[in-house]
Amino acid sequence: MPTKVRYPIGVRPLLLEEAARRRRLETRFVSMLERAGFDEVVLPIIDYADPYGGLLDARRGYRFVDREGELVTIRSDFTPMVARALAPSLSALPLKVFYRGDVIRCEASRLGANRELFQIGAEIVGDASSDADAEAMLLAASVARELGVRPLVVYNDVSIAASLDRDTLDSLKTKRRAGSPAGPFSKLIDGTATLDDIASFAPLAATRLREVQRIVGDRDFTLQPDDVDEPGYYTGIRFRIYDAATRALLAQGGRYDSLYGRFGTPAAAIGFTFTIDAFEEGA
């Protein structure tokens, strides 16, 4: 019988050149985040599934029952794990932490889906201000820039969704303009809504976006108010960073102010996560 040469879905070894490339990128990320005042937390590669309730997508990650009969998942998303790890001992806030490591996903193949994903992320815990929003977004953009990539940051505030009626939300999810009557909702759908329009139905989000926009500016940053689908655990600002040249998705982030409360210690938080392998192609 021949030795099986394949690896399980979602993982593979990195041999010499690839490993060196990953480590070079890792070293530069870590030093940038340290200079920015972030401290490392190290998160376990497995954890119980139950404490996360619906936070983790059960279809994405490896899951198994351990010897105690508990359902265990292999790490497939860092952000909820950071909250669970830090929540019990949160004290001096704000806290700036970063993390790094692999996430493993076993979902059926879509493009890039079954590549191993080495991620580095950072978050600011305990600062609910728009300054923190902007700090996180600017830091993420400058990290990309330092690695030689021109970032394109697309952002929005997902709390807008809470102000929308079901029809408008459905329209935004498919981008289909069912004959909704003229007005701010209709403008949101066809992409012509201004922050003043948004203020008419989601004043807090509009204010927040205005403040953030003022700080981050327009260069490399694009506000896209109709981008509200699938907020997941995000509760406010949500952003994605693309490589402006290749449109590769480099990082994702946003504000998740209710996540720490899930683990016993309410705290505002905003963060972002880079997928290093996306860079390995681009940079």
Partner: protein, 207 residues
């Protein structure tokens, strides 16, 4: 940057190109299309002609920015692209089909195994799904399977085979689909495309 648009070869190709032409886009001519070429660069649009079932694949993976795809193919591929415009032609129905008096749903032949599986699961029917590549109705005639799930336009094929329509699985229309990444990163261009197709979509039926 040019925009790449995927057009499904076959049945929908002509009306779809008519819509794009009406929307002001420079589309390949009929004579050009009679060659074996599948890729046509026009000003800032690259038109690619692919099998209808492959349009969602190209758009999902970002290899095309937009395209025209039937809801059948969108669902079958679990395609996450936006579907901003529903076209007013090419409408048909995905149906559960069987010979009259077929006692029990035991197995289903189909070109749409994913849709069929979801349909059966949602009804708690424990039946086997057998994917076929063509002439699906024949499976019920030759008793490969008890039932068939397939697209029905006129119902002619079903009648010829002495089968009967049993239940509607889904209503199918062709849609303009736009990839999420390109929508986010080239928002203005994509919104313009959507607006232009939306406005021109009725041209084919009104002509």
């Amino acid at each position: 940057m040019t925009m790449r648009i995927a057009i499904p070869k076959g049945r929908l190709q002509e009306p779809v190109l008519a819509v794009f032409a009406a929307a002001g886009y420079d589309v390949p001519t009929a004579s050009e299309l009679r060659t074996r070429r599948l890729v046509f660069a026009r000003r800032d649009v690259e038109w690619i002609f692919v099998k209808d079932c492959d349009v969602p694949v190209y758009v999902e993976h970002g290899a095309a920015d937009a395209g025209i795809a039937g809801l059948d193919q969108i669902l079958e591929h679990g395609c996450s692209a936006y579907q901003p415009v529903e076209l007013p032609f090419g409408r048909c129905r995905m149906m559960l089909i069987a010979a009259p008096n077929t006692p029990r749903l035991e197995s289903v032949a189909t070109k749409y195994p994913r849709i069929a599986r979801q349909y059966l699961d949602s009804r708690a029917i424990h039946a086997e799904v057998i994917p076929l590549g063509g002439s699906v109705e024949l499976a019920a005639v030759l008793q490969l399977t008890s039932h068939v799930i397939d697209l029905v336009e006129t119902g002619e094929t079903v009648r010829i085979h002495h089968l009967e329509l049993q239940e509607e699985v889904a209503e199918i229309t062709p849609r303009l689909i736009v990839g999420r990444t390109v929508y986010r990163t080239a928002t203005q261009r994509m919104r313009e495309l959507i607006a232009r197709v939306e406005e021109a979509k009725d041209v084919y039926i009104t002509v």
